[in-house]
């Protein structure tokens, strides 16, 4: 995967403080962060921003979709996009998640997220 375009990460999280911190992690990893407060907003951003390579999403969010549905939608519509899920709930069964989805339990270690982001490319 080589690209001249900047690698962009879409952070989807309804809690503003946590979202801001996640954005910080992405930026500390040297990537570009884009924010969405819910899944519907995330879909709109994905539709307009082709640079997004990674979606880093929470599960429990208001709106028509939660993080799981968003993950399936992303895997369906943008198959190459890497999906990372973080949640305070128990880890869903692998069968209940799209293929190649990484799960992080909240609260997560910033270093783990950073590492995972860097491993993608």
């Amino acid at each position: 995967m080589t690209s001249t375009r900047p690698i962009t990460v879409l952070v989807v999280e309804d809690e503003p403080i946590v979202r801001m911190d996640a954005v910080d992690i992405v930026e500390e990893a040297g990537l570009i962060a884009v924010e969405a407060a819910n899944a519907d907003e995330a879909i709109r951003i994905l539709e307009t921003n082709p640079d997004i390579r990674i979606v880093f999403t929470d599960i429990d969010m208001p709106g028509s979709m939660d993080g799981i549905k968003l993950a399936f939608a992303v895997r369906d519509r943008w198959p190459p996009v890497v999906i990372m899920i973080a949640s305070g709930y128990r880890k869903p069964l692998t069968a209940d998640l799209p293929a190649h989805t990484r799960f992080f339990a909240k609260p997560y270690r910033r270093a783990d997220i950073k590492m995972a982001l860097l491993e993608v490319y």
């Binding site: 503003p16 946590v18 801001m20």
Partner: protein, 565 residues
């Protein structure tokens, strides 16, 4: 079950049937005794009538024997004959009278028979002399007329009382049988008269068939019995009769007389009654058994239903119900009660399951919130650390911010995390900084705000108050703060923090996470914007956004959880 009901029905009927059968038996026995008595009585009547006839014959012979012409028959047959003719002419039941001398020779008669004809071989001649009395003879075919007769004889005595001959006559059997026919018998009954040899001399009905024949050997013992009696017998005409009989030895000596009552006729009434009774019993039994069968069905069906419902229910089909109507019977009432019980059980187990599910959801939700809170704490800590010059100030800021977070959560805990009153949130957020101070005045309407927004507002107020106390209006005694908010009908929020009377502050003094929090993060809780303005009177902070519609977040999360799992 049906079989058992059948047995119960049979057992219940058995005494009744036995009683009826015994009644029938006893009644038949009574009737039989009555019929026997009637037969015997009828026969006595017949005997009596015959006795009269024979008495008549005897009287006739006695009277005749007294006629002088009879005594002088040997010397004057003509006179004797005239005398006899006079008598015979007036008596239709004899044809002639004979006068026989002691040697057995005919002395005179009315028919002009050869005088001197020997009659000594006739039994009535010998027996009349031997018994010295009226003697009834045996069935005889008349030598003169070839018709059946019954001879009778009486010895003749002279004036000195010596036997001088025998006076003989004979009852005309055709006359006798006419008498019997006229007399008649009961329906299908019979009257039989026989001589001492058992040869029938008179009978009704059908004299022409039986007179002159011998009573079958099977009945001869009746003829020769010691005394009168009763006997059931199949007559020669095929009719079963109850016979009342008087043997030869009974008077009138020399004749057997029997009177038969048709058994069928005698028992017709009781037979009819028995028949009706038997049919009634049979019908009763049938009805009882049919009732048992039907009842078996009526009871068994609901019982089967109940049993199958219990089986279904035990095998996990919680919806199984009998559907029986309690008003339709006792067994149905049991079914209906079972339904009620199952409904109650299902209701309770559903309630228990609901409560358990609710508790599970709450546990999950609590864990989830804790982790989210920790995530928030983590974000606050890492952001504070990142923007602080030294650990000391970082520690202080962190503890202040966590205190604000904690106070917001206190309010939310009190309201079950559903929603909080904005008045309460503002008051609680300010309390650590300006406890009881008259210099801070907050004015605004009551309005419910969500947990997240309460947290955001608390953090903003904490940052603003901290800065005001350190650098702003609250850093000198003259300064004051006015907080004012408005909530529009469309739940738009306009929240203003206005300082006055403090030292002059400039933008450059404000850097780092605190300003990022108030100006960027907090407004995103409200889907709006916020800004800090440095005005001559002091700092002014304006937050504009929308208050989210509050709802029961527990249920909201629970629903999502259900979807997840």
């Amino acid at each position: 079950l049906k079989k058992r009901l059948f047995l119960v029905a049979v057992a219940a009927l058995a005494p009744a049937v036995t009683l009826l059968a015994y009644n029938e038996f006893a009644f038949r026995r009574t009737v039989a005794a009555e019929v026997n008595a009637r037969a015997l009585e009828a026969n006595r009547q017949a005997v009596h009538e015959f006795q009269r006839i024979l008495d008549g014959a005897k009287a006739l012979l006695i009277a005749t024997s007294a006629i002088p012409a009879i005594h002088s028959a040997s010397s004057d047959p003509a006179s004797c004959r005239r005398a006899l003719e006079t008598i015979v002419k007036s008596v239709d039941w004899i044809r002639t009278i004979l006068v026989i001398d002691m040697s057995g020779k005919l002395a005179c008669d009315t028919l002009g028979t050869q005088i001197g004809m020997n009659f000594s071989d006739r039994s009535y001649f010998a027996q009349a002399l031997a018994t010295d009395g009226f003697y009834i003879g045996e069935y005889t075919t008349s030598r003169l007329t070839n018709s059946g007769i019954l001879p009778v004889a009486l010895p003749i005595h002279d004036d000195a009382g010596r036997k001088v001959g025998v006076l003989a006559s004979a009852l005309r059997l055709d006359w006798l049988n006419d008498q019997l026919r006229e007399r008649g018998v009961t329906a299908r009954g019979a009257l039989t008269v026989a001589d001492r040899n058992g040869v029938i001399v008179a009978r009704t009905p059908s004299p022409e068939r039986f007179v002159g024949t011998r009573i079958p050997d099977a009945f001869q013992h009746l003829v020769n019995a010691q005394k009168e009696g009763i006997q059931e017998a199949v007559s020669q005409d095929g009719t079963v009769r109850i016979l009342g009989y008087s043997p030869v030895k009974s008077p009138p000596t020399g004749l057997y007389i029997s009177t038969g009552l048709s058994k069928e006729e005698a028992f017709a009434a009781i037979n009819r009654q028995s028949y009706v009774g038997a049919i009634s019993i049979g019908l009763g039994i049938c009805l009882a058994l049919i009732a048992a069968w039907l009842a078996g069905g009526l009871i068994r069906r609901p019982l089967d239903r109940i049993a199958s419902v219990i089986d279904d229910w035990r095998s996990g089909s919680g919806q199984a119900r009998t559907g029986l109507n309690a008003e339709k019977g006792d067994v149905e009432a049991v079914g209906a009660a079972l339904d009620d019980l199952l409904n109650e059980l299902e209701h309770r187990s559903a309630a228990t399951a609901r409560a358990e599910r609710q508790r599970d959801l709450l546990m999950h939700e609590l864990a989830h919130r804790m982790k989210n809170t920790l995530a928030v704490v983590q974000a606050i800590v890492s952001q504070t650390m990142k923007h602080s010059g030294n650990l000391e100030s970082a520690a202080e800021r962190i503890s202040g911010r966590l205190a604000a977070l904690s106070s917001a959560q206190n309010i939310l805990t009190e309201t079950s995390w559903s929603a909080a009153d904005i008045v309460h949130v503002v008051d609680s957020a300010l309390t650590p900084h300006i406890d009881g101070s008259e210099r801070v005045k907050a004015v605004g309407p009551h309005a419910e705000i969500t947990a997240q927004q309460a947290l955001g507002l608390s953090l903003a107020l904490h940052e603003l108050a901290t800065n005001a106390v350190k650098y702003g209006a609250l850093s000198i005694p003259e300064g004051r703060v006015d907080i004012e908010w408005r909530v529009g009908s469309d739940r738009t929020l306009r929240f203003e923090w206005r300082e006055s009377g403090g030292p002059t502050v400039v933008a450059g003094d404000r850097k780092g996470f605190g300003s990022r929090l108030t100006e960027k993060i907090v407004p995103s809780y409200f889907g709006g914007r916020a800004g800090v303005h440095f005005e001559p009177n002091g700092l002014r902070y304006l937050l504009e956004g929308v208050l989210e519609q509050t709802n029961n977040t527990v249920v909201g999360h629970a629903t999502k959880l259900t979807n997840l799992s």
